[in-house]
Symmetry: C2
Subunit: 331 residues, 2 copies
């Protein structure tokens, strides 16, 4: 198995991504192709120990930034690491592509170069969302910021399949992210989607009240990519802010400093339960081959986990299962 | 001054609402009119001590529920507490109307019965959102689940005025809730709104990345009512879930139980900083008279705070200021 990894696009620069690649080949039984500026990658790699056969490099002179228009960048920046990597994937050089870059460009590239499964209208980014009970699968989390009800129906079907076949959850409870549990609640998109989901061949359990999502009320949370991204980013922001406030409060007295020291393992455990890095990347569900979006601020651990996750997806043949199941369910 | 309070629509039933009214008249220099089932209200009131002149009752036989279609309910349920209360307000019997009921119906009723300020396309629900630095004003938080860019521009102007004139913040920083700071990020609505806000006569500071909202990056956060409600509900849900997880973690060992006991005042302080009840209700900005939406799960404290807030708004003549300022700024 060979995973192709984009060295460009991460907030922390190529260094962390390359470090994650080295850790991945040292830990997992895989090969990796790193795409990006060859000289830069070679220099970074020279500092690490690993089996030289397990990593090769695809040179890419150009890069796509977060400021680039997604569709234009994919069409025009033929020498960018993202386009070079996606083409290598489409041509069968590797089994999966992992990138921390521009989400919109990765989706556009996935659609133009890797292409959608027949019958799928939009590919959706899915991620594991940590909850009190464990986790929910959430999709779309940012690939499609403007959606139609039909897209959300397909997201629900793909998410349900993924949850059942890959995460091993029997008859997963599928919920629609909404501002209330009642059927009449929500905006036009959500209300129209509700009607379609009721008729889909999945275990649709109605609206997932956003307030209840962190508790883990549903196995699969369906939403458009704007809402999904808002939920994800606010969850991160709330965790960061609550820890900052607690730190402020805890340093207020000697007694509270002692108390905080005694609770260090418990706070560490809470932080781990909420840490997106533990869960690696987000697969683009609905494409003919696996494309994984890793978080822009991923460090080496997050990159390694995204690669590990990609390996599991390929091992379990997820795309073939979606391909066959979506056509049965859609009938 | 007379505040009209709807006894129907709260998750906890009329008892908590009536208790809040009694506490309000006992604490503040105001009169209250409670709208709802007269017998029920009389019986509840009989258990409290208060100056009998300060509370009167408006009988309303019917009620609007959360399952009702907002516009239909306002048109057809003439005897509902919400319609009776809003009519009393429009006819000058009181200075403000506070309700925990169906948000959509309250907006529809506000528009049909109390009516919009000339030049305002939609009334927006605004609320004080607690942050690490203090608070931000957020609008719309649920009155308009489907918006046009023009609405968001007016929300920004009203929010800016409110923040400056009532909350006393000089040249408030106005931000657009979005999934990234870059101008190209977001869905169609947000990107179109960005262009309009750049040209508005306010201190527009670009996108408020949702992840940074809990830190308090902006004084005014502008968004459509669906996103605003998602942000608000997820903030509550995250706080509830994080406290639950901490409680689970803290009871794991004797040492952690002791540590948690030592930190009790600090946790209480954090809870208070995040408690929506401390901030009372949400004013509907853009109407000719003051209508306040109190949280559906409000207890007596929340109701009392919503009434107190309504008193302050009336005292400060907020609506007149918006009325005059919006016309200057819109030119």
């Amino acid at each position: 198995m060979r995973i192709i990894v984009d060295s460009i696009g991460g907030d922390k620069g190529p260094g962390e991504i390359i470090k994650g690649c080295v850790e991945a080949v040292n830990e997992l039984d895989i090969n990796i192709t790193i795409v990006g500026k060859e000289d830069e990658i070679k220099e970074e790699l020279s500092g690490y120990n690993f089996s030289k056969d397990s990593i090769d490099i695809l040179n890419a002179k150009d890069m796509i930034t977060n400021e680039d228009d997604p569709a234009l960048a994919i069409r025009r920046k033929k020498d960018s690491s993202m386009v070079v990597g996606l083409k290598a994937l489409a041509e069968g050089y590797g089994d999966a592509f992992v990138s921390t870059g521009n989400t919109g460009a990765l989706l556009a590239g996935g659609l133009f170069i890797v292409k959608r499964i027949e019958g799928i209208e939009r590919a959706a980014l899915a991620t594991v969302y940590p909850t009190r009970k464990g986790f929910s699968l959430m999709l779309d989390i940012g690939a499609n910021v403007d959606c139609k009800p039909e897209y959300l129906k397909q997201f629900a079907i793909m998410g349900s399949i993924y949850s059942e076949k890959v995460l091993g959850i029997k008859s997963p409870k599928v919920g629609l992210a909404n501002i209330g549990v009642e059927e009449v609640k929500g905006n036009n998109l959500v209300r129209e989607s509700y009607k379609l989901l009721k008729d889909a061949n999945i275990n649709f359990c109605g609206n997932a009240e956003v307030r209840d999502i962190p508790e883990g009320v549903m196995d699969v949370i369906v939403c458009d990519g704007f809402i999904g991204n808002v939920i994800l980013k606010l969850t991160e922001g709330m965790a960061i802010t609550m820890f900052s406030i607690l730190e402020e409060e805890f340093t207020k007295s000697f007694k509270s400093k002692i108390g905080a020291m005694m609770l260090k393992p418990q706070f560490k455990s809470l932080k781990n339960r909420l840490d997106y890095r533990e869960y690696g990347g987000a697969p683009l569900l609905g494409l003919k081959q696996l494309v994984v979006k890793a978080h822009g601020s991923s460090d080496a651990i997050a990159i390694k986990n995204a690669i590990k996750q990609a390996k599991t997806f390929v091992d379990k043949d997820v795309i073939k299962i979606i391909e066959s199941e979506i056509n049965i369910l859609e009938k």
